[in-house]
Amino acid sequence: MSKRVLVATYQCEEDILSGARVARAEGITILDAYTPYAVHGLDEAMGLKASRLTWVCFAFGASAAIFMTWFQLWTSAISWPINIGGKPWNSLPAYAPVIFEAMVLCAGLGTVAVLFLVCRLRPGKKTKLVVDGITNDRFALVVVHDSAERGVEETRQLFEASGPLALEERVIDEEPSWWQVGVRRSDDGEVAERGWLGTINMVLLSVLVVLVGVNLFVPLSPNETNWEIFREMMRSPAPGALSRSKVLPGGITFQEPVANTVARGLPPLHYDASEESAAAAGRELENPYRANEEGVLEPGPLQRGQKIFTVYCVACHGPRGGGDGLVTKRGFPSPPSFGAGKLNTLADGQLFHILTYGRGNMPPHAGQVPREDRWKAILYVRQLQEKAVAQAEAAAKKAEAEADAKDKTGEDKTAGAAGEEKP
């Protein structure tokens, strides 16, 4: 499609304003106005409606703000709650800057993108100046010159009043649509060939884009992605704990700790498995879990000690520490009973030494039971000992009482017998 137009060139902005007003008053369609800078009031003079781009801008901004609010809520409170400085997961003040930035970015870039699309601007587009000098000091008004209704001379006279520098009649082509890349023009600007070549090229390009997209995003195996967006997040640059190393001694990344390294929370124990060392431990070490000044012990450590005892000690020592665990019934030598003899006289530190380094048939338990738990187990062992001792005492008393009673009844009997004998 081609159009016949009239191009009016002006020297100053007042003239183009009056030219535009004339055109509107006479009902002549204004195609466009070209000015070196934004002329105030030209939009009104041309009768332009308010741009709908503002709504595009608003829609972009609002949707970006809403999306970003939801996205931050979802990431930091729903999908992967992160504790940052003890703040609530859903912390609106912290979202505000990101919402704001995303809103401004989307509104700005989106509006520009839509503007380019609407105006058919694209990188590399060759622009044709309607009049030389509209980027410098000239103003140009392009109106449709409809010769059917109004004669050329008549229209020309209409515009003469607004004082144009030049009035020129031209025939212009409609812009080819954006997909018609292969349009060829002859030298005088006429379209010589509006081939299908460009359209085919665009289709092929779209197919290529789709294929590349499919290749990038559809994974071949569930464990791997075709496209690693953040490589350093997919593959750690640091070597694994037990991987080969060319620089480190031993050819492996895992190294012995430096001599005298102390594990966190575990001050070293300067003891060995000897008798003297056990005695020293008895003198020097104290159970950190003691009853407080009022003689009250917190239930937690004791319960934990009981649990440890049930897991590790019961098999040999028996449920009450009587030395009658299951293994003793299969021929394992019986350990001494807690309630009797020498075990009562041992200090907590000595018990700890036994648990840590072993004694006689008892193997060391330092590997299985953490240090704290050993102390807690000792706490429970002490309780068992008290019960066992109390039981033993009670049993002894009972036996004694029974013995006394026996003696008495014996006396009575003898007395009775004597009485019987008396009469």
């Binding site: 308010a50 608003f58 003040p93």
Partner: protein, 372 residues
Amino acid sequence: MTVIAADVTAPQRISRLLTILSGAGGVAFLLGLLITPNLVWPNLLLMCFYMFGLGLGATLFLALTRLMGAQWCRAIQIVPESMAKTIPLVAPLLGVVVIMGAIQRPLAESAVLHGESFWFKSAWLSTGFFAGRTVFYLVVFSLLSLGLASCSRRSRETTSPLFGRLSALFMVVFAIVFSAASVDWIQALDPDWFSTMWGVYQFSGVFVTGLATITLLAILLEQAGPLQGILTKKHLHTLGILLFSFSSFWMYIWLCQYMLIWYANISEETFYFFDRSHGLWGPLFIANLFLNWLIPFLVLLPRPAKQSASVLWKVAVVILVGRWLDLYIAIIPARDAGFPLFGFCEVGGILGTIGLFGLLMLHVLRKDSILA
């Protein structure tokens, strides 16, 4: 609008109305003295600082537009000029109120109470130094605003480099002196609290209310006569853009201050916001954001709204109410008010502010024979 227009077109009537308002404010204050005496002083401070801020915002507008080389504001220049001329009239009132408060309840003592490490603060807030500083601030602002107003007036007839130089000087002086003044007058009511955003926060409030008052008065004067045929849609559009952008600027600064304190979570800082966002203060705290930003932002977003006088004057009123609430939330809780109480003092303060500022404006406008 038509009601206001009808009133404005008869300056004698509006003058009587303003006198009645001032009188009502005075009576309410007397009642407040009897019923809630501890709220009288904070409301007086609020009222004076508010009025002072209107003048300052206008002076800032004069200096800023001059430095930008803006020509559009020539049409409405009489409005900021007249507002700037109220500063020397409000200054003595503000000075008396501030210094009276400092004497009655020395700030330095409450600063000392809470720890020995605040020796600098207690020295800075000692009553004599405080009063001296206050007088200095007020004198500086009075002189500069008078100078700028008269320069601006003369610039319509002759061009002189003095206006530009004075504007540049005012910008520098304003940045420093106003930061210090707002910290002294308002922030120091909580001597333990501190915010490095306070100066710019108060500046944003002062400027947006200055713009709102300029817009409102320009529309009123257009109805009343002096600006008839001068104030066009384009001026309104520019004023609307400025209102819109500086309302958003206020919100931006408000969030900067709030978010930093909220994030750092240091108890010396957070108590300020804690006191002001809990209990009955909570709804006011939220309403502050609505009045000062959300409503103006949403209303002024479309272009036609920025060009419409009937929309603009309503938005200006919303912003002015928002500013009052903003200062109310800042000042009242610092003076032992456990909950917001809208009593005689508040009503008196608002009526008195409208009446007194209106009378001052009327006085200035009549003196310059802009109004009959």
